[in-house]
Amino acid sequence: MNLLKLNAITKKFGGLLALDHVSLQVDEKEVLGVIGPNGSGKTTLINVISGFYQPDSGDIILGDTNITRWPAHRISKAGIARTFQNTRPFLNMTIKENVIVGALSVKSDIKEATEVAQKVLEETGLQGKAERLAKDTSIQDRKRLEVARALSTSPKILLLDEPMAGLTEEEIRDFLALIQRTRERGITIILIEHIVKAVQQVADRITVLDYGKKICEGKPQEVVKNPDVLKAYLGEDYA
């Protein structure tokens, strides 16, 4: 069953078509990879799904609810959590407090929210740094914090916006393991990523965007051989 469905989503910025009739669906417990060159509309896609941008046309359906044009906080409550490509932690709060804020959307009691946060911190490998201020942490930890904070809202769907950009090979391996664990908890994931090799390892399906258009979709091993995809990534000569 489709958990999330996008019907012909179009988003324009002035004369620029950032998303051009993009349709896609994600099934429950699936990991959908979204790849594409710079400026292909990947982040815009996340911003539209999470309610930060309003689409100019098209519909977004979560389960059987049309959530098009819902404000961001309501979409989060409905069960879609997101991370930010350029991490945006609450800098002057501790890592734990950051996660508690997210957990408070499911538990209104501070004590209970703290328990939820504790669990998420363990899952994401941040428990040792819980009391540290977010501004005193490394990029790797901030990337993890983004995921931890999103997970603490107990989402049905997790939108990851280039979570592995700027990480080393080893850190990427750790991060892929984290994604794997997250999906095992039954959370559906849309993974936007620039690093194709990384996406290949965890995605069930991959969608490719180029200039705001969906140019290809399929199993990872098929997609990377698709001539349109090679052309988009490497240029005409290599296709």
Binding site: A72, H73, F90, V101, L104, I110, A113, R149, T153
Partner: protein
Amino acid sequence: MERRRIMAMMVLFAILPLLGEFAGRQYVTLVIMMFFYATLASAWDIMGGRAGQVSLGNAGFLAIGAYTSTLLFLRFGISPWVGMFIGATVAGLSSFVIGLTALRLKGVFFVMSSLAFVQVVQLLLTHFVSVTNGDIGLFIPLTSNPTQMQFSQPIFYAWLIDGILFLAIFANYSISKRRIGFYLSAIREDEDAAQALGINTGLYKSLAFFISAFITGMVGAFYAQYFLFITPTSTATIPLSIQIVLAAIIGGTGKIWGPVFGGIVFEVLTYFLQLSFPTIAGLNYTIIGALLMLIVIVSPQGFLALVERMIRSK
């Protein structure tokens, strides 16, 4: 821990004006004005420090509280004890007027809108002469009747503003212990990220602003009863708005005791500067301005954080 500290301070602040028995009437006036600024700064901090939305409009709330309670008393004979809460409610509701437009605006645009609010309140109070008596202002006849919130002993005014101060402190404390406290901090740090975590940021900012304006409106009613004379330019003024912000920043924003301490320091400084150099107009502002710059450079978390660090390092 924090509860005990609040209790201890409550006792201390209640005793403080009693020393006026020895120190004289001037001293009680000083204590009253110390509490006055401490309360305003503490109330401001709910919106300005916790939620990070710097309002330069709080003098407008004070004016609305003062005029509402005074007009209710003068025209309808409603006791200021009741008028104070009606005035506070009207002040709180007026924050939604800024909120409707300004809460959609972020950062400096919110600051500018709140600044405009003070000017608009002042103009309205000046313009509708038949209701507000315009520039001439409103006199409250002296009755010294406690049921009309008038006292023959100044110490009762000290205890009254002390009570409002503790309401402000308690509001800050309650907020810090609850979900709204976490949410306001998140909004201050990053509003978009807060929204992504399901926080209705507009709602929580409005709520914080309402509480802030409500308490400020109560102080307005106190102000009217204490001075028994209010004008548009003694209440809804930009300098007062700025003084409130200065007091909070000097003490340290976002913490329970920072703004309280800041308000006390601000009034003590102003008082002694005026006492020492009565002939040099504006000297107090010059020195307070210099102090502010020093604080921002040496200890951006405020004066109280600096004192705490000094105590700890000993």
